[in-house]
Amino acid sequence: MRHVDEYRDPARIKALIAEISETVSRPWTIMEVCGGQTHTIMKYGLKQILPKEITLLHGPGCPVCVTPPALIDQAIALCQQPNVTVCTFGDMLRVPGTESSLALAKARGGDVRIVYSPLDALALAQAEPKRVIVFFAIGFETTAPTTALTVYQAKQAGLNNFTLLVSHVRVPPALTALLNSSDAEMDAFLGAGHVCTVMGLEEYEPICAHYRIPIIVTGFEPADILEGVLMCVQQLETQRSNLENQYRRAVTWSGNQAARSMITNVFEISDQEWRGIGLIEQSGLRLRPEYAGHDASVRFANTLQDQPTAIASNECISGEVLRGRKKPAECPAFGTRCTPSRPLGAPMVSSEGACAAYHRYAAVPV
């Protein structure tokens, strides 16, 4: 597959490892922001082939993992309402809320449907006008424009039975929150390539300057990750802290202007609760008031106000994992009481969750 195979070429990977080994002179800790990058690192065994001086920390870039249990509880409550259908991406189904999950609610008769795209939920709203469709909109800035254009289309078409339960989050405030914590250990970030495909690079330059930390916006294939690590090491070894773009084939400085405009038209920035981490100011997106008719939290306010306070599992250490403080295998429940089929927390469920990556790929302790 073009634009994929060349970044999995063993000769290229071997050359990059050699270059990193020649460049590094002392220990450095690098955090990959995105869960997709974590899975590439685990799938291709990159931790094992990198020089011992390089420590990789796994970041919070898994939207399924950071969706607060209160919103999952709300989605569960909505799917049990008469003539209401909840649509969402497949990763969300097994994520535990306080007492249940969307998968369990579906098994008990709730109307939950998996979609590949928010446009599939819009098509369902057109096909079933007597049902209210709630699209459970999770995701970072990569996904927000897909939701935004879909609800914009619904509004234009007068499709009043299409609504959103929004849990969109933004990367830059999360990086700032991590850097502001007293125990921040990372020397550099591998930035989330697909978020920057939409948003561009400009939000990250002030972070590099203020915290004096290199950020290398990086792709998702093994050669991308290693090239990003090499660019981090080159900066760290020469005391530089710049923003650089490894993922040039997809990311430009200003990103995708049409997508950014649609996000701004439909959403406004809000404070957001992150599962396992807590409230991060200015880190979320919510629908603008003119979209209130398509906002499930407004349309179903009476149903949702009766929800008990959400509680996540006490045993799950996902907050520590998402902040890079602990590795999944350090959790006493990892692989025993918490598995992909019976997860205690979201990172064991998602295709971007660090715990799922370790459970699937780590044959040896890493």
Binding site: H3, A18, G35, V64, L119, T142, H194, R249, V251, A259
Partner: protein
């Protein structure tokens, strides 16, 4: 969730309310919304996320960084 794959744009259906095209992922065809890459033409490789094209993949921009990598590749040759 931020996963996106590159696929080749095969053709464009201009009859749709939304700008839509068929994209081939190693032979598997998928309908994709092109609203965010309206300049895309058949033969372009698009980065597709959740049914939307979010970027046209640029070999020219990719090559800009491969120059340095080629130096590393050569140094690894016997």
């Amino acid at each position: 969730m931020c996963l996106a794959l590159p696929g080749e744009l095969i053709d464009i259906d201009r009859g749709e309310a939304l700008h839509v095209g068929r994209v081939s992922f190693a032979g598997t065809l998928k309908r994709v919304c092109l609203a965010y890459t309206p300049e895309a033409v058949p033969g372009d490789y698009l980065l597709v996320h959740a049914g939307f094209s979010i970027s046209i993949v640029s070999q020219r921009r990719a090559d800009a960084i491969v120059v340095d990598l080629n130096t590393a590749l050569k140094s690894d040759l016997p």
